[in-house]
Symmetry: C2
């Protein structure tokens, strides 16, 4: 850094600063996580139950209590293509809001596939490759995760098969073509290539599909082929673990800026980008008595942390996964079709849920019109067009900056800008045209879904 | 840099390394440029002829012979949002090609609007704002330039009106929505808002429009409103000047890598990204006796440098601009509809043309199928999805790397990856499906257009 630069905007690190270990928050939690349960027996599941789906290295990470897990050099080498990501001081947004708050954001949209998802896709591809796996099967909704895994597959020479929710397959052809350009095979889900898909199509040939159906197809694909494993883009402990490179870099970059965030914000769907930024800061809270306030920003259309219950539930609508203890709206609950497809999930990562249950983090829900308003304000001030998901974090960051102005305090705010919105412009068009819908909280549908919670 | 990093991929600079001056190659040219001529009188034009369209600061830069032109601090401050851009060593592409060549690329796609265009859009917006201009009018084809000027207008509080070629307006709605999200007003050209547009529509109401028509509308808009000036995204000396931040940073980054490029490559349409990377290297050739080979990669569908003539011609199809000395295919020539819309231009920047005429640079033309093949190879190796325009540079870089392999020589190759292809995926889909067309060189159409060259 040159001290002569009057108004530093960007805090960049060269690749020697890519973290050498992932940070495992389980080592520092004040209470231990509840184990996943077998849905048939109600007993905790073991590694063997997961072996058909995941390589042993990832299963080991899923249950590890070690604080640091070394990042293998081939993973760090692929991270060099886009990491460390930059951290920005949002001078222009501060000026637009006329706030004394200092606003910072970590930008993960500069990765090849445009979001934070490659942080775990690369790691998952590597550990599968190392175990001799030839092919990965996964599902994708809006396409961020499928794009990331297709990219990671190309980096490590793995075949990738993506079951893409039919509605998105038809509406977002660009995401599909991006995956195909990386060499992945993409089919609309439900498809004719699995028993589950054929069963669904026999009954409802015109179904638009759902993430739950696509998960079931990808899991069946992996479970029935010896050369294939399954990959998931959020929710699980090892996925959140891989994302902690974000927060570790941000800690170093905030030090470069000479500040420490009073408030750290991430949007939450399954929880992975939120965890990636905030877990290393929470670790400071737990170990060093730091006092970072941490806020999860979720959509009003899927408000698991703010309106759900903390209970054992299935991770998928098909009720095929183990039972996990989490905030949930009920696995039968299908959220309204908001544009932040990455946040349309009935549950929440067990680790994030545990933190909320013990009041170690806060949560706030946001309507989509208000999120897009924040996204447009951000784009006009800072230039970067945010994806719909992180506009929820931007909304909360702006609200906190305005609260700081009201209080006359110079608070330091940090949020995660987890992806760009280049494939989401039709949503911006609807917002600008005034035709974007907000959805009332569907109390009756959630109560119905919660009534069906499994009895454990 | 940590010397312990075994295989450095990315060479990053913090923002104190943003250049403090633009590099004006005119100061180092072995021969002086030919002046633009007034089409009526055939005499060199003066600053007053341009004053209705451009602020005086830019007119001064257009004719300057100073080697360095200071970058104002507000421009550097906006550059901080994305500059310095990273320079990459393409280890994975080298491995895929099994070449002893070292391949480097400068990546300009990380700017908010996704290409190198903001380097000049920001500068043009600043100098207009400084002169009290309230509003800018411009044209755009595929939308890279319009997006950049819309972004720059938002940064400096200027209104921006974009005349977008009707065919692109209908086919590329995402680019239009991006401009509108930045706050610009976008109309399909020809439009009903100008006399020229109304005249065209009265005769051909169903016309798909052309860049030439859109230029005429934007120029009329600027010339007839006191609060408005015109902005152009390539071709002119001051536009190329602003892009030289690219090459100046690359010089420093190649030094960090401990290498000097034997070959420097850029794609050429109007010439601005090519000039941005290569002019600072050519300056070393002229002043210090360096021996960088410099190659311009142009489309076979608009091969002005490789097949055109060096002559005075109009810059637009409407024959409203001054006459400039350049390589041209004739201002009546309309290139085939290749997907690299940014390279579909009948002429070439006068400065780039002069360099070619005196054998100070080389030129090579490339078919689009071959370009897209190079783009897909690149994406699968390096992750970044290139825009159609820089796939021409990638094609030439790969060919040079394979030639180095054939010769058994470890040559150092550097090219400019001037933008990402997130808005161009339908072209990739056509390539992957095998339906992308190559176009034969249209000899008769070019000969007809050249027969109409103005007599000076």
């Amino acid at each position: 850094m040159a001290p002569s630069e009057p108004r530093q905007t960007k805090f960049v690190l060269d690749e020697s600063h890519i973290p050498r270990a992932w940070y495992n928050i389980v080592a520092d939690l004040p209470v231990p996580p509840s184990p996943p349960l077998h849905p048939g027996t109600g007993q905790p599941i073991g590694p063997d139950d997961l072996a058909p789906l995941f390589p042993m290295a990832l299963i080991g990470q899923e249950v590890s209590t070690e604080r640091e897990i070394e990042i293998p050099e081939p993973v760090r080498d692929a991270y060099r293509l886009y990491r460390p990501s930059p951290l920005y001081r949002a001078h222009r947004l501060e000026r637009a809001l006329d706030t004394p708050a200092h606003i910072y954001y970590k930008y993960e949209g500069g990765s090849p596939s445009g979001s934070h998802k490659p942080n775990t896709a690369i790691a998952q591809a590597f550990f599968n490759k190392e175990q001799g796996v030839k092919r990965l099967a996964t599902e994708t909704g809006a396409g961020q995760w499928g794009s990331a895994l297709a990219f990671a597959g190309a980096m490590f020479g793995l075949e990738v098969k993506v079951y893409m929710v039919r509605a998105s397959y038809d509406q977002k052809p660009y995401r599909r073509i991006l995956m195909e350009t990386y060499g992945a095979e993409v089919v609309a889900s439900p498809s004719l290539t699995t028993n589950y898909g054929r069963t669904v199509l026999a009954v409802t040939p015109d179904t638009p599909g759902s993430l739950g159906m696509a998960i079931s197809e990808a899991v069946e694909d992996a479970a029935t082929r010896d050369d294939t494993k399954y990959a998931l883009g959020s929710v699980l402990n090892h996925v959140l673990l891989h994302q902690t490179v974000i927060g570790q870099e941000a800690l170093e970059q905030m030090s470069m800026a000479g500040e420490s965030p009073d408030i750290v914000i991430g949007c939450t769907g399954g929880g992975s980008n939120f965890a990636g930024l905030t877990f290393p800061f929470l670790g400071r809270n737990f170990r060093d008595g730091a006092k970072h306030r941490v806020i999860a920003a979720e959509p009003e259309a899927a408000p698991s942390l703010t309106r759900g219950v903390y209970a054992y539930d299935f991770g998928d609508t098909g009720k095929m996964t183990p039972l996990v203890k989490m905030y949930t709206l009920g696995s039968d609950f299908i959220p309204e079709p908001i544009h932040a497809g990455g946040l349309r999930y009935h549950g929440m990562s067990p680790l994030v849920s545990l933190l909320k249950q013990h009041d170690l983090i806060e949560a706030r829900s946001v309507h989509q019109r208000s999120s897009f308003a924040a996204g447009v304000t951000f784009a006009r001030a800072e230039g970067i067009l945010p994806a719909p998901e992180p506009t929820h974090a931007i909304r909360v960051a702006i609200d906190e900056a305005l609260a700081a102005k009201e209080a006359g305090e110079s608070r330091v705010i940090l949020f995660n800008l987890c992806g760009h919105g280049h494939f989401d412009l039709s949503a911006y068009e609807q917002y600008l045209a005034g035709t974007l819908e907000d959805y009332e909280y569907p109390l009756e549908r959630v109560e119905a879904a919660l009534a069906g919670l499994p009895q454990v």
